[in-house]
């Protein structure tokens, strides 16, 4: 089957690649665009390590067909922060020791980012619900929740 032209807008930049049409978004981001910040965890839409933003909403990119998101704004972890400055969320994760192995971190940051964009001062329960779809095997989640609270307070 032949490759097809795929146009994606990622982190504010327009990309054109030729790929087979059956690829999921995560794989195109990682293998075609070289944006490996988005991780491959469970491959079944469970763990959330592949979370990206599509039009400002958190979505698991391993269960999204790349061809279906051509008209949309995609943000990966590489798109957080600007001009060499970390996003306040990223800084808060560092300050609160919310990162151990780092594998869940990209997804966690984007789920948190989507939450704060919609709800700048979330309650603890709202934070927990927002990261419900992001599994972490290291931290026990407490420091991650604290980091999101800290980021919300700082803005």
């Amino acid at each position: 089957m032949e490759k097809r032209l795929l146009k994606l807008r990622v982190n504010g930049e327009d990309y054109e690649v030729y790929v087979e049409p059956w690829h999921v978004l995560r794989d195109v981001l990682r293998h075609e665009l070289g944006l490996t910040g988005t991780k491959q965890g469970c491959d079944t839409g469970y763990c959330g390590a592949c979370t990206v933003l599509i039009d400002g909403k958190a979505v698991k990119s391993c269960v999204v067909m790349a061809r279906q998101v051509q008209e949309r704004d995609i943000v990966t972890v590489e798109g957080l922060g600007s001009d060499g400055e970390l996003d306040p969320l990223q800084q808060a994760f560092i300050d609160k020791f919310a990162i151990q192995c780092g594998f869940c971190t990209s997804g966690m940051l984007l789920s948190a980012k989507a939450l704060l964009m919609e709800n700048p001062h979330p309650s603890e329960d709202e934070i927990k619900e927002a990261i419900m779809g992001n599994l972490c095997r290291c931290t026990g989640y407490k420091k991650i929740v604290e980091a999101v609270q800290a980021a919300a307070e700082r803005s």
């Binding site: 049409p21 059956w22 979370t51 599509i54 909403k57 269960v63 999204v64 779809g133």
Partner: protein, 286 residues
């Protein structure tokens, strides 16, 4: 994912023609939140995927004369947060809220989820309790299917191989009706152990005139808990509803699995039915 032909029709009409042409060799893919993992696990290996996620004109929530009409491609998140859904059908807002996690609901569609007819799905019990129906379109025309004729078997609906689900129609509830949806999980975001959708309509004496109780995760399709519904008639907020719980345990028909034994699941079905009915009665009163 394994190589598969990926077709991208631009209209509903073209979609129906493709389905008519390829029939069992093709599968419609809306958001793919259920289908993609199933294909990764080789549960489905269609030759053609027909992408419908971006078809125009199917993303809406409309208040009609006697029913709410929801387009099949409306995202679950849109339905969950809709003011009119929360006001008219809290049971539906609660059921959609219970689906997966927020990422799934941001991209997943209400029609796609319903057509998948997962026995552990949250939409089927709530919509069945609400007496909803769906519109199905094919090259042969359009028809409406009431949901009590829709769920046939494990992930099988009464849709023909060449039909597309286009709309969900939810009739408005009579006055003095309240409802709720309860989902039991081990961990947030998990598949349900037991789910209950319960609606109760009260008479002038504030006792149950009619109840609709549907159990999910209990069989290969959602189960109307008919004995529990009968036991609910005449009950008020003051009753302990133990016999309704007993009846629901009888109506439940679960298979044992990693989430629980038959005894545990039928006990839970009874307990949650009792609790759901209490809430439904309280909401119906206010």
């Amino acid at each position: 994912m394994k190589p598969v032909e990926f077709l991208e029709p631009e209209t509903l009409e073209k979609t129906c023609s493709l389905l008519a042409k390829y029939k069992e060799e093709a599968k419609l893919i809306a958001s793919g939140q259920s289908l993609i993992p199933m294909m990764q696990q080789r549960l489905f290996t269609p030759k053609y995927l027909i992408s419908v996620r971006n078809l125009p004109g199917l993303d809406y929530i409309k208040e009609d004369g006697d029913a709410l009409r929801i387009g099949a491609l409306t995202t679950q998140r849109t339905v969950e947060t809709s003011e009119v859904v929360r006001r008219r059908f809290p049971i539906l807002a609660e059921a959609v809220h219970a689906i997966g996690t927020v990422q799934i609901r941001n991209w997943g569609t209400i029609g796609g989820s319903l057509a998948e007819a997962d026995p552990t799905g949250d939409l089927p019990p709530a919509l069945l309790a609400l007496g909803a129906r769906v519109k199905a379109l094919s090259v042969r025309g359009e028809r409406e299917v009431p949901l009590d004729e829709f769920f046939v078997d494990y992930i099988q609906t009464s849709l023909e191989l060449d039909e597309v689900l286009t709309e969900i129609i939810v009739p408005y509830l009579p006055p003095n009706t309240g409802g709720t949806y309860i989902k039991d999980v081990v961990r947030a975001g998990d598949t349900g152990i037991v789910t209950v959708a319960a609606l109760a309509t009260l008479d002038g004496k504030q006792t149950v005139k009619e109840a609709r109780i549907v159990l999910g995760c209990q069989a290969v399709t959602p189960v109307r808990a008919l004995q529990a519904e009968k036991a609910a008639v005449g009950k008020s907020a003051m009753d302990d509803l133990e016999d309704v719980a007993e009846a629901a345990s009888q109506d439940a028909d679960p298979a044992p699995d990693v989430l629980g034994s038959v005894e545990y699941k039928t006990y839970l079905a009874g307990l949650r039915t009792k609790q759901a009915l209490h809430t439904a009665i309280d909401r119906a009163k206010s």
